[in-house]
Subunit: 345 residues, 4 copies
């Protein structure tokens, strides 16, 4: 097993989790910036003097490759991985959307559109069966994972008409040395960004919920989808990890708190990493864990349904989910090497 | 001029601003906890050895009294202030709502319901003329100020049908030693609270916007109001000062970005403390100032209007607004002692 | 195995670590405040509905008891634990100092002075052999662990004459809801406290270093100690976890950087949780791990030796060290259930 | 009056303070990056649409020029300012040290060594008389201001033998977009940097204290200095503004707390911006103000003197001090436009 892009935050979390995975050997990791240097030179938290090696060597040595690279790179690497009879888990957006939609929202010409049909969408709560034995997984990101899991029960039930989704994210979501993330201008500050329907995770949220609306609970990656219009407004919050989704959903039919509780508890009853909480979720409760905390709330004054979802954007929203997909793909127990409980405080 | 409740955050900001006010003398300030002790013992930022004095002495000495006390106390003090021919600016919720509504949402029996008719609602952007010469001002709080100013142009135009309002607040809004505001459990954390239509600032937001809908731009404090249903979901953000309102408004008629820009710029063209910004507001830009930064955004995908409003909850959302009201009430220039520009970083 | 005081931060970390310990069963945990309530009601990060049980039940069920209680309580409980043939790991200060010294610095009369001779001082790097099979362990705290490990090589070498030690700590060191740890007054703030030689960890640091000076590297818990005078000045830093010790040591003999490197690397060569780093330690690099990062630096201008030590105060400075001691005491591999690598960012 | 380098943090603070200065006109400000753009495009806190203009225009229009530029630039600009009969306040290091010392520590060849004799060192508490009417002021930075004021009374008394100085700084000291100051790697982190006697503010601290030792309280900028050896270890603290100096001084003679109190209170009795506090200083107490809070503490166990000094690094440690010097230079009241009290919380 190998990791490309091991000097980014997603890569670091993959290393942290995979190093504790029994029965898996980390055969190599790459980073253009740190090539030849020891792991500890890139990451103060790791006590490991093995060097970053060239990407080609990782590809040669590994049977499964995690690609934690910027958008647009995996599409050039995955074809050779699959051709060599190996498997790939892509943490970027390259294989999450139909190539035409991808090109429209990401502004990047797609180099391997033929592989989209092969890619399984890596949200285990919705696509567990398809993931078993998959060769290529398109691992979703933090906002989409949280928003999809928040609204999935309503969509699968066929009652979701639309939603106003507010995303609140810590700065690690912008990556290492992310633009506009200097401490002096982030701490004690709070701001919306990419508001007004311009964030490129919108079509992915709509695709996920639209499939559930069209196909119900057993929706498949490449199946039919109904149209669903979401408003999505992300904000940058002065914290490092954690995202919270606050969604106001317009729903059909008559609902009350008890019916919502039952819907959500039943929907997620067998899920190892989704908890429907009594109170209201808080991001810190998921720190370092692969857990999502969810809460639906019926708002009598407006007849709308509020749903809150909290997760650690680098774990369930990124590397942890990739490991969960890896476990399913390779036949390991799904929970292997994935903490359900986090650090506090 | 005197301050009751000078050992809370609102009191501290009042002292900071009023000490720099030319032509006003701070004749006394009280706090049960610090009575007899010097100001510097309560506040490390103040270099002032004058002692806190008993409340009665402040009331005796001052011609205008600022009441920065917990809800339910001002209603017992204001009658004697007015009887003595003096004036009062109340920073609590006691005189903001009709007594019956107040009792229903605050759970406190009202001791001076007859004074509600006398109280002018202290939002200068909407009630400037009434504030001139007022004897009793009901100074609104941070969430209500921000949400009202965010949606007022749409309401005064008569097109506001409803809104999903998300409130994001730093912890100083909970007061000094506020419950659940320990650093170890707030830093790197984010959580909703009082969700589902239970926050007591909701009726006040609805009252303000309902009056504008019914009466238009020249709405008066005690005039008629139309019903408007808001959803309001507050969140605690790991920062000390600053609030951001993110609202999604449902509006009548056909709008686009340019029409919105014109509406908002015209509405606030003469306001000394409201700025309609080009980009998106951020809370830190208002730190320590009495300014509100606003931005309306037309969202084509949904046909809704997003509005963002940022302000410093202890200044424009509390003490600064009280000083602005004081200036109007006493005939000072409205901008006296009130910075429009803040600290950065 | 059971935990007393499971609703404090030390208790929470013990639960996190022990739940992942293979071959150990957590048979009960207590907290006066949460008795009868599920674990998840006290801790948002834990997904565990088992209830807190009365202290007596924990003592009855457990073969090894971790006491994460305020100072002064363990001394009343440990006698019965030992009498019942069980073992105890005390995370408080009760058994770290000779009873007379304890009473002088803690202002608490000692109820079980006779047990001091039995207690092994729980710093594995200095007392590994004594800890194997110990019945009672006095687990040291964060400042003392860091300061002792920072200066131990110089003391064991016999060259340490004295040191100016500056301690910098996140607020979790003050415990849950610790006095003066409200977010609004901690964030963007930094302050010294208990300065001028009044902090009660001073005699413990002097005892540890004095024993090394007198007995050398193989110092034993109750052996002879030489006098060494330290200045210790703690500070509260606006962060949750992590402490850094910055010490300026006055040393005998001629030193240079290379000699220091050799001394420190040799001293800690076999230690599983102590890393001598190339650059300068930073606290975040140890987050959630049981690792200490150390760096000695020879300062030519003054002829002094600077030493920096960083650790996670709740892990190596508290619960992780307790688990390390437990492993030694019970014959488990010392590293069991203890991460050497932390979370980043 | 004009400002060069108005898009850095020092520049922003200068604008904030000078815009509120009565009787001074801000005739222009420059920034290469923002030239031609409005002030509000660089600074969200400022409501000012005047454009940044070319540096030459500022120099032409202004009678007094504040230079808030990186080290090495002022030395090329100041000669023409002075030649034109104008005055300069330089916030960089260019004129603080004898040119040879400067070159050795800064690694920059000095272009105007002849002007060093002309420059008055801009610490009003030590050089007030020289500053009146000065043509060129070398404005000291945050660490040096705090460390010098902390130890000045001991040096002027002739008893200071040496000191171990620990500096703790918020990240704004590293400037806008300072290296290594990304939120995700600064928050919840704490680290030393440039340790071991390599920080270039060391010779400046030694020069200031050495002059006081040699000349006593009335020391002059270019007078004789005695050698004094300091150890200085700076740390980066996860906060934006504020620095704290914690110094352990070795002193001659017999001291106790009362004698120290008297020494410090007398030394600073007439100073408008220096407060000797009862308790221990905290950085947040100075936020946004030009005040320094100081505390000497006699440590009986070691016979050493601890001194703590807290200030806002961008005000008294930078722009506020520059305005204080400007006031002295131009004959304004020294306190004009300079708050002594800050924001809290």
């Amino acid at each position: 097993m190998g990791v490309l892009g091991a000097s980014g935050y997603g890569g670091a979390e993959l290393l942290r989790l995979l190093k504790a995975h029994p029965g898996v050997e980390l055969v190599g990791f790459s980073s253009r910036k740190y090539e030849g240097k020891p792991l500890s030179s890139a990451w103060p938290q790791l006590w490991d003097e093995r060097p970053f090696i060239p990407q080609e060597e990782v590809l040669e040595r590994a049977e499964v490759v995690f690609l934690a690279l910027p958008n647009g790179l995996a599409m050039g690497i995955v074809p050779e991985v699959l051709k060599a009879g190996k498997r790939a888990i892509d943490l970027s957006g390259d294989f999450r959307l139909p190539p035409g939609v991808y090109e429209a929202w990401y502004g990047i010409p797609h180099k391997s559109p033929e592989l989209y049909a092969e890619a399984v969408y890596g949200l285990p709560e919705l696509h567990r069966e398809e993931l078993k034995g998959a060769r290529l997984v398109a691992n979703p990101g933090c906002y989409v994972t949280a928003a999809t899991l928040a609204l999935a029960p309503l969509a699968a039930e066929g009652v979701l008409k639309g939603a106003f989704v507010v995303g609140l994210s810590g700065v690690s979501g912008a990556g290492r040395e992310g633009e506009g993330t200097f401490f002096a201008e982030v701490n004690e500050n709070l701001k919306p960004y990419k508001a007004g329907g311009t964030h490129r995770h919108i079509p992915e949220m709509e695709q996920n919920l639209g499939r559930l609306l069209a196909q119900g609970r057993r929706a498949r990656t490449h199946g039919e989808a109904k149209a669903v219009r979401l408003s999505f407004t992300p904000h940058l919050v002065p914290m490092t990890r954690g995202i919270l989704i606050t969604a106001e959903a317009e729903v059909e039919g008559g609902w009350d708190q008890e019916a919502l509780n039952t819907l959500y508890r039943d929907f997620y009853a067998q899920e190892p990493f989704v908890r429907v909480v009594e109170g209201l979720p808080e991001t810190k409760g998921t720190l370092g864990s692969n857990r999502v905390d969810l809460k639906p709330l019926y708002e009598e004054r407006t007849g709308r349904v509020l749903v809150f979802a909290a997760l650690d954007n680098l774990v369930k929203g990124m590397a942890g989910q990739a490991v969960q997909n890896f476990n399913l793909m390779m036949g390991f127990s799904e929970e292997t090497a994935l903490p359900k409980e986090g650090l506090w405080p």
